[in-house]
């Protein structure tokens, strides 16, 4: 059997037998080289209580080349693309070492959630949000965790409620304040566009005072 398959096989067995780390690896289809990993959000972070799923693709030259990982679950984090789930982490790129395993890499992702690195961002907007107002960022991250990462059974009532109040949902997901969105919507701009522009301008916390209303309107008119 080829060495790569052997090793992957062992790594899956290792995760299956290790109940303490709470890390799971499942097959996606019949190929052992396309997997789905999942781990719980770390405690005392905005991601606590969520279950985060990661798409894992094992390249031909594994373990000499890094595994390809990206989040399936949407995550609000400076080092994770909020749209594609792409991850910015050194060990997934040039700092990869062949002694790293699927399990240790997933644990690294878990600790990436504990310690965001806004100076080396994957998602520039989220990173700006983080540096401008950490509290507002955390609120948004918690909201994303509740909306996207809660297991279906547990948070059913909550997500149902969130679905009902659809508009508030959008504002919270963008990490903005409803009052600001309402203010510019009242000028006659479509709500979706207002949210889009305010998010891009990072209209949050101390930045609100710095960005003039004229500048916002200018952007809205573009």
């Amino acid at each position: 059997m080829d060495a790569r398959l052997r090793r992957v096989n062992k790594e899956i067995a290792d995760c299956k037998n290790d109940k303490t780390s709470n890390i799971r690896i499942d097959l996606v289809d019949s190929s052992p080289f396309h997997l789905k990993g999942s781990f719980p959000g770390p405690e005392d972070t905005p991601y606590q209580g969520g279950l985060f799923e990661v798409d894992i693709v094992i390249p031909d030259s594994y373990p000499f080349q890094p595994v390809k990982m990206k989040f399936i679950t949407k995550v609000y984090h400076p080092n994770v693309s909020s749209a594609s789930g792409a991850i910015c982490l050194d060990i997934l790129k040039d700092a990869w070492s062949p002694v790293l395993t699927l399990k240790s890499t997933l644990i690294s992702l878990q600790s990436l959630l504990c310690s965001p690195e806004p100076n080396d961002p994957q998602d520039a907007e989220v990173a700006k949000h983080y540096t401008t107002s950490k509290r507002s960022f955390e609120e948004t991250a918690i909201y994303w965790t509740k909306t996207y990462a809660m297991p279906r059974g547990g948070a059913g009532a909550e997500t149902a409620q969130a679905a009902k109040t659809d508009t508030r949902d959008e504002v919270a997901i963008a990490g903005l304040e409803a009052a600001h969105v309402d203010q510019f919507e009242a000028l006659g701009f479509p709500r979706g566009k207002v949210i889009d522009v305010l998010r891009r301008l990072n209209y949050r916390g101390a930045n609100v005072a710095k960005i003039t209303e004229d500048r916002v309107v200018e952007e809205l008119l573009k």
């Binding site: 059997m1 290792d14 037998n17 000499f64 749209a83 520039a124 891009r200």
Partner: protein, 378 residues
């Protein structure tokens, strides 16, 4: 359904530290300690680096060939190069001994988990090993002492010294592999023929000493020579780019390798062969493969690569077919991107979930040139 497939995958017979019960974490640790961090198998021709970390020779040579002059130790990331590799025969003996002892310990550890659980430290484990061996595995007088892995490492250097413990040729000895009782003078042949995947069994010290003294006999020595490759010299590093086609071909012929395929393939073949050959020399004489076996290994490797390449070309075909579609999508998304975004950063970074009708198509593009996007953000 996926879990069923996973089960069949896991059911394949692959030994793993987790074969040992959870109640005996020390056994799991021990089993993991004699495995290479790169291939997760038992060390095969272990070599140490300058930093002291140990890997299979072939595995670490593969790493070096990929990383080139920037190669670092996979464990501690200190710089390394090929000339630092030193064979680690002590570890090799530990692995051989552990492979032999493993089934015994496994059967001991499994039916009586309580007993195994009460063996968290080395002395106890040593005890369980011994207890099992003395009745069934080793009735022969040779195995008077069994030692744990640690003391065995200490013992290796002096193991050539003869001991008075050698059994007589007619003494019955249990084959350490299949537990069959064989006459001592025949055990060599017995194991060479059937039940010995590796010709050397280097368990406890006295046994090892007995074996090495036996190896010095004319008969077994001749056998050794036959097995050993004709020349046991390391193949030098070559800068393939500077060689002419003819020289490259000559080099291939020199090693008895095929000259099929194009130049790139010759280079790869020669590179892999050098790696296999040198890694083989890092093993102690008893563990080495013959030239023919190495040739087979090379063939297997080439086959594997061919299969993978086939798969890759299929993907390329798909990309070609879909190219038009991709272009259309990109074209559809580009103007919207530049029109809708205030700054370049915002355009390349990814927006949160689709909230308006514009965004879905934009998202499609992001999925397609995923890598590009990552580079942008870096």
């Amino acid at each position: 359904m996926n879990s069923v497939k996973l089960k069949t995958l896991l059911a394949q017979d692959i030994s793993d530290p987790t074969d040992f019960p959870k109640e005996a974490p020390s056994l799991q640790t021990l089993d993991a300690a004699v495995r290479c961090g790169i291939c997760a198998n038992y060390f095969d021709g272990p070599v140490s680096l300058l930093c002291g970390h140990c890997f299979c020779s072939l595995c670490i040579r593969d790493v070096i060939s990929r990383q080139g002059s920037k190669a670092v130790c996979p464990t501690c990331r200190t710089n390394m190069n090929e000339s630092q590799l030193r064979p680690n025969p002590g570890m090799e003996d530990v692995v051989t001994a552990w492979k032999l002892a493993r089934p015994c310990i496994l059967t001991l550890a499994k039916p009586k988990p309580n007993e195994a659980a009460s063996a968290p430290d080395t002395p106890d484990r040593h005890l369980t090993k011994k207890r099992k061996r003395s009745p069934s595995c080793v009735p022969g007088p040779s195995r008077t002492s069994s030692s744990d892995a640690k003391s065995e490492v200490d013992v290796i250097p002096s193991s050539d010294a003869p001991t008075g413990d050698v059994p007589k040729p007619d003494d019955p000895v249990a084959c350490p592999l299949c537990a069959k009782i064989v006459r001592y003078e025949e055990i060599n042949k017995h194991m060479d023929n059937k039940c010995a995947p590796s010709p050397s069994n280097a368990p406890p010290k006295s046994q090892k000493a007995a074996w090495s003294s036996l190896m010095q006999g004319p008969k077994s020595k001749g056998k050794e020579k036959e097995k050993a490759p004709a020349v046991d010299e390391y193949l030098p590093k070559v800068s393939y780019d500077t060689l002419k086609d003819k020289q490259l071909k000559d080099k291939l012929a020199e090693q008895g390798l095929a000259v099929t395929g194009d130049r790139a393939m010759w280079t790869e073949r020669l590179q892999r062969w050098t790696m296999l050959w040198n890694a083989n020399l890092d093993k102690s004489a008893g563990h080495r493969q013959s030239r023919g076996e190495l040739h087979k290994e090379l063939k297997r490797w080439e086959e594997e690569r061919k299969n993978r390449k086939k798969k890759a070309t299929v993907d390329e075909d798909h990309a070609k077919k879909q190219n038009e579609e991709f272009k259309k999508l990109v074209a559809a998304a580009r103007p919207k991107k530049s029109k809708g975004s205030g700054s370049a950063v915002a355009a390349s970074s990814s927006p949160p979930p689709p909230s308006s009708a514009v965004q879905p198509s934009e998202q499609d593009v992001i999925v397609i040139d995923d890598d590009l996007e990552m580079q942008d953000d870096l």
